[in-house]
Subunit: 442 residues, 2 copies
């Protein structure tokens, strides 16, 4: 892709409405454009990042055997009346009347709809467990949308639902998602900590938020630093192994604001390990038993007996993760963003030094790009006539982790290769390709 | 995937509400479930097919250099007031008031929103052409939704938009999409014919519908049979080559109902080539010049002069294609569906003959599946205790084109291999793998 042909509308200045760095960076680099309060369009750069995150989230769901479906955005109010949440949900729910006067709504979450699908499809306990997920747009009519896509109204979310015969099996399902989330965030190069949390409008009595540390986070957290050392790499998708992982985490006090007790914190955490800070919620899992299955009459036959299924739900904010990763990876002072290679909008940026009328370096760039393409390396070439130092600044914001500089310092098959934020190395193209492919694997 | 663990709720009978064969088949094989009038959830089998279609549509957009973005589903009414369509659109538009009392709507199409994005991003003619697409849910509040996902309210659509400096360049863009659509439908194993069509609420004076023949189609079409022989394989993404392709098609009378004139038809088409029949619209392209750019003040600087950009829009119904392909490929009398291998929910079905208590054939199936997995062949094993003939009937409806039967007729490494609807062959596994991989390439 040539920069001059791309749809990446760079802003010269930091827009005044953007208060946190992810919002600022996303607007400056043309990743998103607001279309109305709390509603955004995703332009090519932002779209590519979000899609790559979506794919990682998807693969980790598939890895624990969750089946993908797709529920609609517009739901009938009827099922929400059945569960009792139609009144409870308040003004955050976007309520709609269709042309026939029926009460509809834009789904803020899908417990009711998935329960309705389950009850009409599954009749016997022999078909359990069932784990279903979808990745779909949701709408919550926030009174004060802010922080760009971090607290917006229309957002993209992966939500999964589990259906089991009894508590014991249901906890096994819960723990599968617990591990799956740790793996997901690890692949996104984030250290997300599971914290005991309140269940809020979803309900139930067991819940964890997955939180990444960030000064700009909205959640206050209280944690024992040793929780960062818990290792899930050896955990298997097997009942005991998963239960042990949960126990490992539970050794260390780690809660969000609503669950916090100063006394408990001081009692359980030696002073040297106490950490009070802020974080961003990127995932949230819930176990709520028969809270929905009972009022909605969703049961299976168990040897002639009717058993209400035991359910949990499991959410990851896919669009929100784009912002969360920027909050974690963007060095605001140096003005350098560094995307993890796995979700970078392009694998590599090619930045030729261009003199007006002299196309030599641009020709070199195009030649190099052919070889990159042969090696499945995705690239963008900055063919604009901007001056060289502002090109470098621009690409430091765009955050593609690998840069090839084509200037006057190198000759022949040697180029300056920069891992963003580090010093340039002079390397030949074969070595550069090897380095990029290595970082793609990590 | 084991059938017993999958979420494929098969219905025994044809649901009475389903009037056309695609709707019937999708309900019977558990591809979709209606959640309210004209609104459906996509269950795993239907979801897989739709995602594969989406990917083919995407690749063919990428191939002509269209850039992918993602616009939100909920739009502000303001931009529709600017274009003048807020009043015109009528009751099919789902109108919404948010909690602040603002007029919003669920996008039925995106000309306004994409024009708004363009005008705030692109200032100079040097950045033209710009071709943008997104694949997103739309809502049209049909008075009488029917025919399942063929005429529903919430539907999944690829819509693209082109921005050019003048008519000549804009027609070049139009023709790129014209070719791209022919290629897309060909990859889906459909012969879709471009037909001169009315522009309806989108506007403009040039438009083609891409239509596949089907008795159950809603569109009446009048065409010269020789149009089926026009070949686009040699056409290049280049101005003259594309213009020539358009000319080739225009040699043959081929229109939808609204454009039909009996006199013209009889004059232009020799009797032997006349075809009056029905079809299903799967794509629609429009050229409408400055219909939106002028009222919305979307212009570029052209050597100091302000020029309103010339726009076109280009839609493919992704969710509708699932139904359209069933209408084209499902043999209702024989009760045999055959998905093109490229969009089949699984590459292969493994159907073992199971006696109660005797797991030998199931073990064989699992063994085979390991080798399929090594060869990147996706499969489903029917491990249920259903009797064998109803299993075969079920899989003939599900429509996976390659079946491996594990019965008592074969020994060792030989199995019955069936290309759906054809006679079984006895083959060893290596040969079967080769055959499946071959058909995946087509």
């Amino acid at each position: 892709m040539l920069f001059s042909k791309s749809f990446i509308p760079i802003l010269k200045n930091i827009p005044s409405e953007a208060k946190i760095k992810s919002h600022q960076l996303m607007l400056r680099t043309g990743m998103i454009k607001q279309s109305s309060a709390g509603i955004y369009s995703w332009l090519p750069l932002g779209f590519k990042v979000m899609k790559k995150i979506e794919q990682i989230v998807r693969e980790e769901q598939d890895n624990i055997g969750v089946q993908e479906i797709l529920m609609p955005t517009i739901q009938s109010a009827e099922i929400w009346k059945e569960s009792g949440r139609y009144k409870d949900y308040g003004e955050e729910m976007l309520r709609i009347k269709d042309r026939q006067g029926r009460d509809m709504l834009y789904g803020p979450t899908n417990e009711e709809l998935v329960t309705d699908i389950f009850r009409s499809s599954i009749k016997s306990y022999k078909s359990l467990p069932q784990l279903l997920y979808h990745i779909q747009w949701k709408f919550r009519d926030e009174l004060r949308p802010r922080f760009g896509i971090m607290r917006c109204r229309e957002f993209y979310m992966k939500d999964a639902y589990s259906f089991d015969l009894n508590d014991d099996e249901a906890l096994f399902s819960y723990n599968k998602f617990f591990l799956s989330y740790l793996k997901t965030f690890k692949r996104l190069n984030l250290s997300a900590i599971p914290m005991a949390a309140d269940t809020g409008p979803i309900g139930g009595n067991l819940s964890h938020e997955f939180i990444i540390l960030a000064d700009t986070g909205e959640s206050k957290i209280y944690t024992d630093k040793r929780v960062f050392n818990v290792d899930s790499d050896q955990t298997k998708i097997e009942k005991n192994s998963l239960a042990n992982l949960r126990k490992e985490f539970e050794k260390f006090y780690s809660v969000t604001d609503e669950k916090y007790s100063e006394k408990e914190f001081n009692n359980k955490v030696p002073e040297e390990f106490r950490l009070k800070t802020k974080g961003i919620e990127v995932g949230h899992i819930f176990y709520f038993g028969d809270k929905y299955s009972k009022p909605m009459n969703s049961s299976v036959d168990y040897n002639g007996k009717k058993e209400f299924v035991k359910m949990g739900s499991y959410g990851v904010g896919v669009s929100r993760l784009v912002g969360a990763i920027i909050e974690a990876k963007y060095d605001e002072k140096k003005e350098i963003m560094k995307w993890p290679q796995s979700i970078s909008p392009y694998d590599c940026a090619i930045i030729p030094f261009l003199n007006k009328g002299n196309k030599k370096n641009l020709d070199k760039a195009v030649n190099i790009s052919k070889k990159l393409r042969e090696n499945n390396i995705d690239f963008i070439i900055d063919d604009t006539e901007e001056n060289f130092s502002s090109k470098l600044k621009k690409f430091n914001l765009i955050g593609i982790p690998s840069q090839i500089i084509i200037g006057n310092k190198t000759e022949g098959d040697n180029f300056e290769f920069i891992k963003i934020g580090e010093n340039p190395e002079i390397s030949n193209l074969d070595k550069i390709i090897k380095l990029i492919n290595q970082s793609k694997k990590n």
